[in-house]
Subunit: 600 residues, 2 copies
């Protein structure tokens, strides 16, 4: 196709009133919408006003949906269903929508005989065609007699009416494990509509899976580019339209969710376009910037960092060890990860691409550096800077101090841990996937002391940039309200014992780990006694998987919501020590409680 | 059995640190605990201190759990597993726990041959017995070679060691649909431990079902009394201990969750005891009390209620129509359901029973009436009063006004709608089931404008008292923060049109329903045109199911978080109009937004 496909979104994807949803879809840049019937039914806007509202917003109404349980083995019921359809046709005329989704019946009276079904579909097509309307027939994955696209196509083919075509939904097809390749053989002009949704692989009732756990393309485990290719190859020329039922999105700010949704389609289009630019190859991190009070400098010093520069005009210091560069911004606020900088061969192009992918450009005055660093905001508010490979375009902002330090063996940044806001976990994974080309790992889960936590890492193929994203499985309530998970920087070392000893000798506030952990570690791993004793002494956490070992020590939480960790990887361990996270989190929590009990 | 079984709870059921959990379990009245290993591993308390802490709290440590993947086809690995077990035995000696749970292996090297498995279990039993400890072997529903209780029993039988017995877990057995009857044939002294959990019927991977969706007995769909009977018949004499993995409980206040848990065991014990008192037969509601400002009286008046009494000493009015009695408490605060009174043949005994079931007794000064009404607090804070059948013990507190009204045809209270706090939905269903003997219906779900909502009704067999409970599926966040669902009183009428016309003529603030709803209703139900026109005019919502029809009109939300509804039931409709709830909720929301836009 020579032009970009049009983008659409079903109103059911978003939270709020119909008006909220339409405004959010338009603001995010969608070309059209599917009007989900319950949204219209609950709305005070008459269909004619919805039509005007959409026109004002620049949105086409691409589909009215869904119409359920059309066909029937009972002639009287089929007649009633035809009457019901005519009333919906009246509505569509008022709305200015020309296509209605008819999904395969789930009712007891669904027609099993394909010829009889085709006959009923033909009748409906005749009624619709007489009014200039079209029927897009869709196989629900849990349809009683029609649950696969080949069967829905066979019914449509036999019905043979120009006003009758197919609606394809990636979820219904991929959730059943059907091969979408044969879609390419369906005449393109019979593909009336395309609904796109991703999902994680879940072993559960497909109806529940569909109604609660759909995701926007690129957020789940389905191969959406592989699905879209045969649809486009068949000659489908309609919009790419999202239909995503998701518990979290349904209660989240629709403006934010619509942007996330729109980004997913831009990325999918890019992935299937022969002329698309690939995601930029990023390196780094060039630096991580921490907002901080005065508590951070002594800790960095104790961890062997040297303060190598002071910003010419801003209250920002530059600290270095190995390739790890941390900027400390003393402008105020609680300690937190304020910014992450990545390196790219063409930072300006990478930033432009990010903005094209709906990332919000960061106003320049917010940058830590004077250099013209292009920057956007990540879903959790972290600033994301793009620097030139080789790191030569921002260092000049800092007056060298000439200070140096022996270091404790930190070689660079292993990864950055970013606890995400509840509503934006899936958005974050998609953001980093599309904007930085980082590949999300599978979603995991662990039991933290105050509730379950979901985890997902994103990383580049060379593991030069790794981000460990976490979110609570349920939004936290009144119990333990202070427990918002801290962010952290994990610093790579070659020898966890030497590095930790060095840090301790210099007075770093290391996190103490309970003896019970080491008794369990001994039972599980049967480590040499001296090694176990050193672990216990230093507070080393040790995760072993078949791929290798992950050793870490952590500082206490430092004056806000951030801590630092030392990390040593052995073998091919590619994880983040999440099996030890509950112990670490309980220890951090304990420290904070203990401090809270100290009289001020 | 002549005495009540001991009660226990696994620490994994509750949120917080090990210390939080132990304190909560003791405060709720449990006799003992199962120590869940990760809770101990993350705790700074050494095992000896945990032992002392439990002793101080009056808790026995009934089980240490779980020990995973003991058996192995690889002799070296089995030897390592024995070493691991010995380390745990060391720990148990420090803890003072004499029984450890060993669950069937899920590993690739699990032993399939029952004789070889028995041999390995015998070896472990020998090691445990030598230290005065016991092994309770449990079949996980997803165990690789052992996944049913009959197979775990066969392995234990063949192993034939006095220190080796069975652990039975109701979830693992009932989730697979196994018949528990044959448990009665297992020698009671080989039943070392019993874990109890309920669950809703879900069609999903059993591991995920188990890890996220277990419930306390009486909250789900499993027949726990039917499970417990053969266990007790076999001669099991150990504690009834809860092991419930539940996403909500894991992040909720452990003190509250422990009380909920303890209540579930009290009710289960009662249900299986030959000498138990049944739940009291309740009638009513005797009255519903609303806290309210001045906005409510004119509305009650417009709905045809007469103000029949004024409290002798408190700012409380009594309003009546048919058998519907509403007390309006003008003490202040936003309009809300403050109390519900039920009638019983022996209210004092019913209240004592409620307190025995861990309900919190309400201090008397909080009561609306001077009469000595026994009262407890429901999980959502609503006061629950017990009155004598015939309603003769509280009416004397009111000075009759002599006022009367023609009424609009309200015959009584159909039900009360109580939106529940997020953490306490399952607790509420169990509370009403046990304390009032109301039977919970299946949990339902509907898509409200700002997120999904879960619904569950509780009602007595004669439908004299019905409560409609709802909760948001996810705790609401920043989007649409004002949307906490209102409570309501649904008032029964015999003719919705006449009653609503009467209310409107008297100036009741009726909720307007969008025309779009009636266009859809026409398409679906093909009602006579005059009836549809009347519905549209009056704002009637009409739900039709195969059982009958549910017709309702609602007032606006009245000065706080409560509204009133008129309800007519046709045929055998036994529901609550939940399919219309999204339309009603959007309309209520619209009214509030509209009011917010009016300049003050």
């Amino acid at each position: 196709m020579s032009r970009e496909p049009r983008t659409g979104i079903a109103t059911v994807c978003l939270s709020g009133t119909l008006d909220d949803k339409l405004r959010a879809a338009a603001a995010a840049g969608f070309d059209g919408v599917e009007i989900f019937e319950p949204d219209l039914v609950a709305s005070p806007l008459p269909p004619g006003e919805v039509r005007l509202r959409c026109a004002d917003l620049g949105l086409s109404i691409d589909l009215y949906q869904p119409f359920r349980d059309l066909d029937s083995t009972d002639p009287d019921r089929f007649a009633a269903n035809l009457r019901r359809a005519e009333r919906k046709f009246d509505l569509m005329e008022e709305l200015g929508a020309d296509t209605i989704l008819v999904c395969s019946s789930v009712a007891d009276d669904a027609v099993a005989d394909l010829d009889r079904l085709a006959e009923q579909l033909h009748t409906l097509g005749e009624r619709a065609g007489a009014r200039g309307l079209r029927i897009a027939y869709e196989a629900l994955a849990w349809g009683k007699e029609v649950s696969t696209y080949d069967r829905s196509w066979e019914a449509v083919r036999r019905a043979d009416h120009p006003a009758l075509g197919l609606c394809l939904d990636s979820f219904h097809i991929l959730s059943r494990g059907s091969d979408p390749a044969a879609i390419a053989d369906i005449p393109g002009d019979k593909l009336f509509f395309l609904q796109l949704a991703d999902a994680p692989h879940l072993s559960m009732d497909v109806l529940q899976w569909s109604r609660h756990h759909r995701l926007f393309p690129g957020q789940g485990a389905f191969d959406l580019p592989g699905f879209l290719a045969p649809v486009l190859a068949a000659g489908y020329a309609g919009p790419l339209s999202l239909e995503v039922f998701n518990d979290v999105f349904r209660q989240a700010d629709p403006d934010r969710a619509a942007i996330d949704a729109h980004r997913s389609l831009l990325a999918l289009t890019e992935a299937t376009s022969p002329v698309a630019q690939p995601a930029p190859e990023v390196r780094g991190p060039a630096f991580v910037e921490l907002s901080a009070g005065d508590s951070l400098a002594p800790v960095l010093s104790a961890l062997g960092f040297a303060r190598t520069g002071i910003h010419r005009t801003k209250p920002v210091e530059r600290w270095e060890q190995g390739t790890a560069r941390i900027l400390v911004n003393r402008s105020g606020g609680p300690a937190a990860v304020a910014a992450l900088a990545v390196e790219s061969a063409d930072p300006a192009a990478a930033a432009r691409r990010a903005v094209r992918l709906d990332a919000k450009r960061l106003p320049r005055e917010h940058g830590p550096a004077e250099a013209d660093l292009a920057a956007v905001t990540a879903p959790d508010g972290t600033a994301l800077f793009f620097c030139r490979n080789g790191n030569d375009d921002w260092t000049g902002d800092f007056v060298p101090t000439g200070e140096s330090a022996d270091g404790i063996g930190i070689t660079g940044i292993d990864h950055i841990g970013l606890a995400q806001p509840f509503d934006h976990f899936d958005e974050a994974a998609l953001f980093y996937r599309t904007v930085l080309g980082l590949e999300p790992a599978a979603t995991g889960e662990f039991a933290a002391p105050f509730g379950l936590v979901r985890s997902r890492a994103v990383a580049d193929p060379h593991r030069r940039i790794r981000l460990a994203l976490t979110v609570s499985l349920l939004r936290r309530g009144e119990w333990a309200p202070g427990v918002s998970e801290p962010q952290y920087i994990a610093l790579a070392v070659d020898d966890i014992l030497t590095a930790t000893q060095g840090a301790r000798a210099a007075g770093a506030p290391l996190l103490a780990i309970p003896d019970n952990y080491y008794a369990d570690l001994d039972a599980r791993l049967n480590l040499p006694a001296d090694r176990l004793a050193a672990y216990r002494d230093l507070g080393v956490l040790h995760e072993r998987t078949p791929e290798g070992d992950y050793l870490q020590t952590c500082t206490e939480v430092l004056g806000g919501r951030v801590f630092l960790a030392l990390v040593q990887r052995l073998g091919n361990h590619d994880g983040y020590g999440w099996s030890d996270a509950p112990v670490r989190m309980a220890a951090h929590r304990r420290r904070r409680i203990a401090r809270a009990h100290v009289p001020a």
